[in-house]
């Protein structure tokens, strides 16, 4: 009788295989690291794929400038602990260069990240950008390949994707083109938390329940920050919340929660009636196809 492998073992092995394929086939890859939970899982998988060696790629963070301070501190500490190279490129710099133009100063910079990301890919000549996107996050992502081709303008053409069969990935590109690689494509939010629990991974504190001033707006809990002040007539409440996703401050909302441990988060994840992005992202709700449109333009 052979010992069995759990679903986490299977997902982990698949992701390690994918990371090693990137290293074997791509000339200049980078791993996108934000300090968020999915990219922290990616870092652990990279350790499993390459330790005791160094990672065969630098870490790259596209900084919107609208961050939760806990997450940035965590990002820097984790990169230093791993002794891996961390590159940071900022949306601020793209604004200064004039390649990003915002309609208003406080506008969400989530979509603007695409510009800065493509600039960084061009600057360093990356031919592969590894990211922590998952197919269960959003319906446009459900059709995404593991190795997903981007043309010279960074565009994704969902109707003309390379067929992807077995585990025979095809990352071949011409100069100026690149692939996005998603090693945890087949993971769900629940898998991620179970893995964080199994591996005892540290994640930024805002993933756990804490009291925070919020206002209730369109069914979302909008955190009260300098960038997202309460509107006229809106009541500010202190609510026990946690973040399910961590992105640009101006468009990421927490959910009500009392979960202070990974097991409690897992229990809430199993019982939830709302998806990860549905409860938390203001920008995904603007149109039926907002994620798909951003992705076509080079968004992650």
């Amino acid at each position: 009788m052979t010992p069995d492998r759990s679903h986490l073992d299977w997902l982990e092995s698949e992701a390690i295989f994918i990371l090693r394929e990137v290293a074997g086939e791509c000339a200049r890859p980078a791993l996108l690291f934000s300090g968020g939970k999915d990219s922290l899982v990616l870092l652990r998988l990279a350790e499993k794929a390459f330790r005791p060696g160094r990672f065969p790629f630098p870490l790259l963070h596209i900084d919107t400038g609208h961050n939760f301070p806990e997450v940035i501190a965590f990002r820097d500490r984790r990169a230093a602990e791993l002794r891996e190279e961390l590159l940071v490129r900022s949306v601020e710099d793209s604004i200064a260069r004039g390649t990003v133009r915002l309609r208003s100063a406080g506008e969400s910079r989530n979509a603007a990240q695409s510009v800065t990301l493509l600039e960084a890919i061009g600057e360093f000549g990356f031919d592969a950008a590894i990211g922590g996107a998952r197919r269960d996050e959003e319906k446009a992502r459900a059709k995404e390949r593991v190795f997903s081709f981007r043309d010279g303008y960074g565009q994704w053409d969902p109707r003309n994707q390379r067929p992807e069969l077995w585990d025979l990935y095809n990352p071949r590109v011409n100069a100026g083109e690149h692939v996005r690689v998603f090693p945890i494509s087949n993971w769900t939010e629940l898998d991620v938390w179970q893995y964080i629990g199994r591996e005892k991974l540290e994640v930024p504190s805002i993933y756990y329940a804490h009291r925070r001033p919020v206002v209730r707006r369109n069914g979302l809990l909008v955190p009260v920050t300098d960038l997202t002040p309460p509107g006229a007539g809106e009541a500010v409440e202190a609510v026990s919340v946690r973040f399910r996703t961590v992105g640009d401050v101006s468009c990421t909302c927490p959910v009500e929660s009392v979960a202070t441990t990974v097991d409690e988060i897992i229990a809430e994840t199993v019982a939830t009636r709302v998806t990860e992005r549905g409860a938390t992202r203001m920008d995904d709700q603007t149109s039926e196809a907002s994620m798909e449109r951003r992705k076509r333009e080079g968004y992650f």
């Binding site: 299977w10 982990e12 290293a23 067929p163 992807e164 095809n170 011409n174 998806t275 549905g278």
Partner: protein, 457 residues
């Protein structure tokens, strides 16, 4: 409005009613009588540790495939409220009177606008037994290409048939492609039992027709379940309408399939992905392609043909005694050999053959047909070699499932038997015996497109 849309709408009225009832749906049983075997993770504690089963679904639009997937996701509590609300919003925008669940499975803007499914989509659900990954492939446009893609990573296939119509040509094609792609566990879901009064004879005549047709394929595990995706009978819950059927439900069938044993029983194969030097010693990084390996075992390294012994098996956690097909590990050998990416480490007894003039079945994926004078790149495991087409022996007519040899031309969605000449050998097993060791893709060296999926004979 076509019958198809109507079927979805009927399906969705039911889904909508259930979700908005804000109570347990009737089919889930009365809350006061908790079911003995709940399918909900929430009822079972969260830490299911079962294995993963990847399956593909095949069926034409008329067979109710979207409804079945919706049913599986819904009854295992995977369709969440905001997703349902999005489906309802999109349906209203399209002028539909009631929510259309196919909009849940159609992800792209063009699909929602045109009411079609373009590409393979992946969906996830979990029960306390295991995690499932569905490769959801469209049944109408480019079904050969898409079904082959979905089937290539699948352990099992669910093929839909219509209880009122029995075995149709498309059912034969779906069975053929699933079998061609080497799927050993196939469940035929005989759907729309509600439209034939849940009668046993409709189920049995459909089943018997499939069994007769599939007999020459010798499919190791071919099973049948009568279902109503619309009403939910025998999908996740048994329902009350088919007491004559005493075998497992569709979900129970999927929960009981164990695909790992066969591949673990194969001779050991390990395609090298990367080579790492640790304190002067080489480690070979990769995932066990097939079989099982233990420290101390004799191996053969290809293409060099040199023999050695497994000195150690490493993971991030440390060293271990053995590794199974699918495990990502690092191997160290007793001898210092020159090994690089694309080489194969294999069991010394029963090493694979070197193949340089290869016979293969191709599924052509590209809009540009096969160029008989063309040069392609062939990627097999982690090894990529140059390939030339020596002969197109025949092309399968997928409509009648007969080969025709004259004027053989391989275009998109065609399946053909070819002879390829390779610039260097690959070390392979026949696909029918070992999928991972017999599969390859062809890449156009100029456009870099993946143009064909191949299976070595």
């Amino acid at each position: 409005m076509s019958g198809v849309d109507l079927a979805f709408k009927n399906g969705l009225r039911l889904f909508g009613g259930e979700i908005h009832a804000a109570k347990k749906p009737e089919i889930m049983g009365n809350p006061s009588e908790a079911p003995a075997h709940s399918r909900r993770l929430a009822d079972q504690g969260m830490n299911h540790t079962g294995s993963v089963l990847r399956f593909t679904t095949a069926g034409s639009v008329d067979d109710g495939k979207s409804t079945l997937i919706g049913r599986l996701l819904h009854d295992t509590k995977q369709i969440l409220e905001d997703q349902y609300a999005a489906v309802a919003r999109a349906s209203t925008k399209r002028g539909l009177a009631s929510p259309d669940l196919s909009l849940h499975t159609d992800g792209l803007e063009a699909e929602r606008e045109q009411g079609i499914t373009i590409d393979v989509a992946y969906r996830y659900f979990a029960t306390p037994r295991r995690k499932f990954i569905i490769a959801d492939t469209p049944g109408h446009v480019q079904y050969t290409r898409n079904m082959a893609t979905g089937a290539s990573t699948a352990d099992a296939a669910v093929i839909l048939a219509d209880a009122g119509k029995g075995l149709l040509p498309q059912g034969k094609r779906h069975l053929y492609i699933a079998h061609l792609l080497g799927i050993r566990d196939i469940v035929v879901a005989v759907n729309k039992m509600d439209l034939v009064g849940y009668g046993r004879s409709a189920f049995e005549s459909t089943r018997d027709a499939f069994v007769r047709y599939a007999a020459p394929m010798k499919i190791p595990n071919l099973q049948f379940v009568p279902i109503s995706a619309l009403a939910g009978d025998m999908v996740v819950e048994r329902g009350a309408a088919m007491s004559w059927y005493r075998e497992p439900t569709l979900l129970e069938r999927l929960e009981s399939i164990e695909p790992a044993a066969a591949v673990r029983a194969r001779p050991f194969r390990f395609a090298v992905q990367l080579v790492q030097r640790v304190r002067g010693h080489r480690r070979y990084l990769g995932r066990v392609t097939s079989g099982t390996v233990h420290a101390g075992e004799e191996v053969l390294v290809l293409p060099s043909g040199r023999g050695s012994r497994i000195d150690a098996i490493y993971t991030f956690e440390g060293s271990r005694d053995s590794a199974l097909a699918g495990d990502a590990v690092a191997l160290a050998l007793a001898d210092d050999l020159d090994i690089s990416r694309g080489d194969l480490i294999a069991a010394a007894a029963g090493a694979p053959r070197a193949a340089q003039a290869v016979q293969a079945t191709l599924v052509w994926l590209s809009g540009e047909p096969l160029d008989p004078q063309g040069r392609y790149l062939l990627k097999h495991t982690t090894r990529t070699v140059r390939a030339r087409v020596a002969a197109v022996n025949h092309v399968m007519d997928v409509d009648v499932l007969e080969p025709h040899a004259e004027g053989a031309r391989l275009g998109m969605n065609d399946i053909g038997h070819v002879t390829l000449d390779l610039a260097q050998p690959v070390f392979a097993d026949p696909y029918a015996e070992d999928r991972a060791m017999g599969a390859f893709i062809l890449i156009d060296p100029h456009s870099h497109h993946t143009v064909a999926a191949g299976m070595l004979r």
